[in-house]
Subunit: 762 residues, 2 copies
Amino acid sequence: MSVGQSIPRVDAWEKVSGRAKYTDDLVDRNVLVARILHSTIANGLVKKIDPGEAEKMPGVVKILTCFDVPDFPFPTAGHPWSTNPAHWDPMDRRLLNKRVRLYGDDIAAVVAEDEVAAARALRAIRVEYEEYPVLLSPEDAMKEGAPLLHGECPNNILKHTTVEDGNFEEAVKEEGLIFFEGVYETPIVQHCHIETAVSWAYMESGRIVVVASTQIPHIIRRIVAQALGIPWGRVRIIKPYIGGGFGNKQDSLYEPLNAFLCTQVGGRPVKLELSREELFSGTRVRHGEKIHLKTWLRPDGRLVARSYTAFSNQGAYGSHGHGIAAKGTNVFRQLYRDEKARRLDISTVYTNTATAGAMRGYGTPQAVFAIESHMEDIARKLGMDPLEFRFLNVMPPGFVDAFTGNVNYFDSFRQCVEKGKARIKWDEKRERYRNQTGPVRRGIGVSLFWYNTAVWPISIEISSCRMTLNQDGSVQVQLGETEIGQGADTVYTQMTAETLGIPWQKVYVTSVQDTDITPFGTGAYGSRQTYVGGAAIHKAATMLREKILRRAAEYTHTSPARLDIAGGNIVNTEFGGRKLVSLEELATDTLYHEEHAEHLTAETTAQVKSNAFSLGCAFAEVEVDIPLGKIKLLSLVNCHDCGRLINPKTAEGQVHGGQSMAIGFGMFERLIYDPKTGKLLNDNLLDYKLPTILDHPRLDVEFVENPEPTSAYGTKALGEPPTVPGAAAIRNAVLNATGVGINKIPLTPHVLFEEFRAAGLI
Amino acid sequence: MSVGQSIPRVDAWEKVSGRAKYTDDLVDRNVLVARILHSTIANGLVKKIDPGEAEKMPGVVKILTCFDVPDFPFPTAGHPWSTNPAHWDPMDRRLLNKRVRLYGDDIAAVVAEDEVAAARALRAIRVEYEEYPVLLSPEDAMKEGAPLLHGECPNNILKHTTVEDGNFEEAVKEEGLIFFEGVYETPIVQHCHIETAVSWAYMESGRIVVVASTQIPHIIRRIVAQALGIPWGRVRIIKPYIGGGFGNKQDSLYEPLNAFLCTQVGGRPVKLELSREELFSGTRVRHGEKIHLKTWLRPDGRLVARSYTAFSNQGAYGSHGHGIAAKGTNVFRQLYRDEKARRLDISTVYTNTATAGAMRGYGTPQAVFAIESHMEDIARKLGMDPLEFRFLNVMPPGFVDAFTGNVNYFDSFRQCVEKGKARIKWDEKRERYRNQTGPVRRGIGVSLFWYNTAVWPISIEISSCRMTLNQDGSVQVQLGETEIGQGADTVYTQMTAETLGIPWQKVYVTSVQDTDITPFGTGAYGSRQTYVGGAAIHKAATMLREKILRRAAEYTHTSPARLDIAGGNIVNTEFGGRKLVSLEELATDTLYHEEHAEHLTAETTAQVKSNAFSLGCAFAEVEVDIPLGKIKLLSLVNCHDCGRLINPKTAEGQVHGGQSMAIGFGMFERLIYDPKTGKLLNDNLLDYKLPTILDHPRLDVEFVENPEPTSAYGTKALGEPPTVPGAAAIRNAVLNATGVGINKIPLTPHVLFEEFRAAGLI
């Protein structure tokens, strides 16, 4: 049994010893260096660029400006392609931009022999702009008369949708309803992966090859081809180990520009690596959202009707666009049931801030912060126990989502909450913290959440896998799904070993994806890796297993029905699993057979048409120093039902990372823009306050293991969920401690001080 | 129709522009350098090695001697493994050798930070030897009392075999037979590929990866594992473009040692690149052979019985061993028919010269030189026309080889000879050169030959191929068979395009083999690439085509029986090939289909159980300056029936290369050893006289295209055959010019002067 064991990560030695090869480690020894010239205005037009002086500088190979790039608008979001144009992501990108839409927009690029020459050249390029007012918030951008960032979007609204479930107008007229409302605001934050955006490109026999730090090699292939206007098959993407992505690399970042620059220097290898500063402004961020919730409920706590109005700050370019705000509404619609009706109204709005895209949680951290803050406030005002109030309304076991057909098979919410309560000593502490006074107080809070596993039916969900049998009975495995630090290769190793009946040490997952040879899979996002990739592994391993047993039947003169593979041997199931022949001997015989030699391999595509509810909760305990406006996080307990655990240890690691990100989101992080110039002021890891180890309590993790029936190995989402509930739990703990419910995160001293003063505590 | 067109080589641009990546181009930037310490005696024992001083030198990382290596004897010959030990190649190799068997044997190795440190360290290592007499020829080595190179082989005979067809003793008693005999001697020559032997190795997650310039990556994987005593699946071989091999790289050269050294420095990357001098003495050479032919025939020219006795100089280690001498006997047995009987007696003998292994032609250049010199001599002495004499006895159309079942389907010998005669103006020149006198004379000669395609039934013949369909209707192709400069990737491109019905520009063959992911194939040797690789391509492409048409039937609502792929489109065959949908549209729809998405791929193994006769002839015209002992080659015409030509231009290129090698073999090249020390005296390209462009006439090529019925694309061997007949044709032209038949090549002035003097011409 390989599944369920905490085997060491298969890439552990490589990574801790520094031997693992990342994009930059593989760079061609003759590589040229590209650097980007960024705009020094946030909104406007490039009227003229003069690269004359720069072009003459030694070491400068080529300078290309926004006036030199082809006009193939392309999308950047890392979604599988759709043959239905209605499902296409916004195609509002060019390789370089004349129309400047954020401070730091890409307006020209230098290719040089080295970094120094490139940097010197950048400084020598002269630019003339026409400047427009800076629009940093959806409110500003939607104002009448505001300059349009993308001509085709009136009022800078990328997309606006409304949904009504039931008869809302009728529902709210019910007699005796209690009404609540609240406005919740979340910050723009960045992923802050260690390895910045980096790629290098070269041409090979008329095709373009890009080695890139990406979560989605097969998708990047398509986007590069779209951006360059060439057939998709003429692009090859190679993805080595990557130093984190968290969704930022579920977008095409600079791979298309890198590819284009390479084509402009005769196919010589060109590297394009962003600095940390460029990464902050030039890649993706989490959408800042403002969410307005209204709730009508009965005095007994039963929700009758609610509305959800949100403005999502898209920043300069489309990227994943409206999908993020939409994902938030899914949480709203399914986490709690309204007895009669719901109304949703969401707008995604272009502004002059960094382009918002995918980030771990994909819109749900924002929505859950709003919803779970709101639910807490209501319970408090009704004088109900906050968990009791939630369970009165939460998605029940047996719930079926009419749209996706997903079923909530288990009573996971209750199981998770019970485990979490015990771990954090909920009852005892709620009691202890009841009547505090004084400047320093403690509190405890909770937040539920759910998250989908994979993205069907918004996009197709497919994954292909190929397995090949080596002569020694070991197996090579290839998938389009990507190891991005989350441990995918390790659990794939375990899954393969499990289904094939061989020791995990004999499974070799090919970690590098190469679109020329790697079976098609869409990559790491949507917490889909174990769910969809697992389906592909199960299907391929089953195919390979059948092929092996067919050969084994011939070799051992035994009916295939009596054969199995166990411990790397062919065994007869009828005689207590007696070993008949080792898989090594069989594999060697099969490959070199004089009569019917065969390299046993299996390759197949799995398509998944469900997206299991992965759910759970977080509990937080805080100590609040009211006069200082400081929160000390004492404890954070996450409890997840992500189905069956393939590797408990790496699962725990995933939760730790997500908890940390939730702490940053709830307490520390946000991008700060200069309101006049639109310049990002904290575009580095000194000024952008990521939580450090000193800001972390012990991170506690509990699991409830209900094997998911729709999943090949019983798994469901765990990659993103740990990020989702933390901020609301912390916020609710502060409320519990101080009586002040703060609707805007991060809960920095600046915010707390104002709020505590307004509440009369200071 | 892609097949039959002279499309440009798919790797042409990469190679002429210098962009193609060879092993050394890919080397890790932190690579360590390994260098080998070679023995300075040719036969003996290492008694002691003192690396003490060397180990202390700066930059030296590790020194390993013949006393430090594991004792896993391994074979080096590039044959597929066999589950039958009787088919195993000699396992007489160790990574480093205490028992020194040639001057320059590998006795220690240094791993250092750079070349300079390694070279310095080599000079500082002290060695003590026990020395034995030097054995440079089979005669010396077989002498009673000669020291044994490999204990288990008495008289240093690696193998000795005899065969008798018919009753030989009876046959030669027939009344009235005429008897002829001759002894023919061929030199030891080297392949002289441009890229020397080079590899670099590193460890990855406990596995060993070797990037190597090899013709046989999947076989090298097995040999490295054997040499290191580890499971085969823990070895990964990557083969980039290579700068020639010609059979030398159908052997494991230094990959096992490189791998071992890497394991001894904690898996850090280590490069091992041979100098040209090391390449000459430390890699493989062509077996020097001495062949004694005896012939009994009737006065009308009909062969009745013949005998073939050969001694093949194996050099220091087993490598391909007896296979080379044995292959020569195949030519002897089948090129001409003996009416009654044949006797063969061949010995392969270890000596203290460079290890002989595979080289283009694999024993047949030696045998054909002997046989065709002998036939010419007989015809001349009988006063018969040499071609008429040959056709009286040559393998006839319809001939079936009892051992292999191969059929000589066509009258190719006659067709080739007719074409060749016309091209070189045979009749006119034979007439013109009839009665020459004076010091400078011209002559014209011929030689027939045949060669097998691939190696069944000596080894299994399998090849696997994987194809994947891209969204734009282009196709990726992977095979274990290797591009080694011969143009394999180009003809594979054409074959794939042909069977799939798409333009060749939409076929992308993955040139790099990587044993972790490349379907199993045994590599480039035995002129098997188009024949066996072609079978795999045909099978895989047919599978993929069927999958495509099945999807096309659904997509177009048309019976699959009416569908075909042509010009990259799905067409309806019933309406004059009317286009229904482009393959691009179909591929995209298939991959992203909401109901049944699939990455269309096909992978399969083809096994071939025939090895078609590839045959033809060469004609040479020479001008001989008798007093100077110099030959000027005026013309060399090769005419081949290699079946259907996939790419006439690259086929012609193959023949040109083979002709050039034949010129070197016949006129210029041989390794010269110091008889006292056994040191190779001309181990560099200055002293080893490769023919240069000035030594070449215009090389003429003719083809006869009889599509081979056993071949997927009608092809048969062309890689090696062009090397085979040239030397005998040149020798016979010299005979025609001067009346002197010289039985020892190369025909250098040293040889010619002696022969002409003996013949009374000088």
